[in-house]
Subunit: 328 residues, 2 copies
């Protein structure tokens, strides 16, 4: 790790927000030093409680996050906000929303805000977000709210990083419901119908209750927690229902903690993370082996020319892939 | 390879269509013997010319494929048809369409028809399709038409298996155009506006010409072939424009062959295939290493418990991943 990164970590751990911001940039850029930064902060992580909020664009998630932040701050606890927008380029919507927020919380040292937008691969965004959440955790923030736009695979990967996942919909998202991925329903710990004063809110609430009920019946055997997914109505614009949402998050947290399930979930997350990192590493190694001068380049050339069948090639190298145990 | 599979390959290579059908089923089911079947037929592949047709549901691709088949058969050459539907379960639409077709071509021994639908992972479907195309090739069919429904990643992976890719649209697919992935535009060797007697056909043709022109300008430097993507109007239901489409396919084939680009494309395809197979193999090996009794299980447990940071774990095993060259 460069001298600078070491110094940044030390300053960040002492509470320097600007050092934190610069470390996040290192992580976003996938700087080679990231691995050592993360190893260095490891012992300081595991205390923050992470809430993920996801849902279609225009559902009012940002406003809801702001209201939640105000509610948490009333209790004196610190809040980190990460807005992840996989659909927007770096200088797109996320940054704009960010600016509005910074105005609202700019004078509050107990709130740290960061937005992240698409950089390179989508898998990379979820990966970078995981590391950013750990930075905020090590920084000492009590709560981290991570907000994603959309309902695709990347968003799902991101909300899986959270301890409690809130899916936010609006009466207009009736169609989104119809095509809602089973994965999202699976991920939701709490449903929120925001802009609940609008037409169609009651119907959406009813539909969601029915969906959750059917899903719950289907999951009876495999459910790891006795938790009835609440379906809440909010009007983030005027703050209605926000305290109830914070209450539901608190109850979910308590339910997770009581059953030892919070740790189980975090364990599963760490295993997923290890697997992803290992696969990335293997892919990199494979690309090198197939590249110019690589161990598999001659094999690749045989296959490229059609002289060797790909399956025969696999047989030839299969034995070379065995992963040895780490040195004692 | 089991005795049965060996016998099936022998019978298939002698022209037995039922043996071919059974081998396709083995491939679809990812039977362990697939690898050896594919190695055994390798020397007999590389002669069929493969045309991929893709586009949104309802664009009339099946009818177009049928008309193309009739046109090719007039010239006396044999045709294999593979209909891939990633959006449908095994007993869904693809099989229904298949039945209609079988009625039309059932008496023609020069036509072989097979439909494939979602089984397991989507990546697996593209993989299985690649193997099925090789079986049809080894069987000795002169032309293979592979048809996919939809415009997603799986469809894109499938059309990349073809020598010539035809993207089929209808006047109603105006919206699909707006959101058309750059990848699909990149993949298209020929555009077809089917149901060209409907309202909006002229506007779509104009839009496509403009899109293709802009894309072509952008690709000026990197283009590997001097080929102006034709944009054709067809009415598959009454056969209008079908001969012109077959003519355009023939011209594309000639352009590819003349420049040595057909072989270049096929080489690139074989390399992609090798890479995919290697990654699958690595992933399987990794899962085994992380599983019960695996070489990395102790490491995984440390990470799971939070005692070891995932990045530190990666450092510990990085050296174990080196891919050695194949034995001489």
């Amino acid at each position: 790790m460069s001298e600078t990164a070491t110094a940044l970590v030390d300053r960040m751990l002492e509470g320097d927000g600007r050092a934190l911001a610069r470390l996040i940039t290192l992580v976003e850029n996938r700087t080679p030093g990231v691995s050592e930064v993360m190893r260095r902060i490891h012992g300081r992580t595991g205390r923050a409680y992470t809430v993920g909020l996801t849902g279609p664009p225009g559902a009012g998630k940002s406003t809801l996050v702001d209201r939640l932040t105000v509610a948490v701050r009333k209790g004196g606890e610190t809040v980190g906000i990460v807005a992840v927008d996989p659909t927007s380029p770096y200088t797109g919507g996320a940054v704009f929303g960010d600016r509005i927020r910074i105005q609202a919380h700019t004078l509050d040292p107990g709130v740290f805000i960061r937005s992240m937008a698409t950089r390179g691969s989508q898998g990379g965004l979820a990966r970078a977000t995981a590391d950013v959440l750990r930075l905020l955790d090590a920084f000492g923030l009590a709560w981290v709210l991570v907000e994603t736009v959309g309902v695709g695979q990347t968003e799902l990967d991101v909300v899986k990083l959270a301890d409690t996942t809130v899916v936010v919909l609006v009466p207009e998202s009736g169609d989104a419901i119809q095509t809602m991925k089973a994965g999202l329903l699976e991920a939701a710990d709490i449903f929120v119908v925001n802009k609940a004063d609008r037409e169609g809110a009651q119907r959406l609430l009813t539909e969601l209750r029915s969906m959750v009920h059917i899903h719950r019946e289907g999951q009876q055997a495999s459910r790891d927690l006795d938790w009835e997914v609440p379906i809440l109505a909010t009007e983030a614009a005027n703050g209605a229902g926000v305290d109830e949402l914070l209450g539901a998050i608190g109850r979910h947290r308590a339910a997770l903690s009581a059953g030892g399930r919070l740790e189980t979930r975090r364990q599963a997350r760490r295993v997923r993370e290890l697997r992803t990192l290992l696969l990335t590493e293997l892919r990199r190694e494979l690309d090198q082996a197939l590249g110019p001068g690589g161990a598999l380049e001659p094999l690749l050339q045989e296959v490229e020319a059609g002289r060797l069948d790909p399956y025969a090639a696999i047989e030839a190298v299969r034995e070379r892939f065995r992963v040895a145990p780490p040195p004692a």
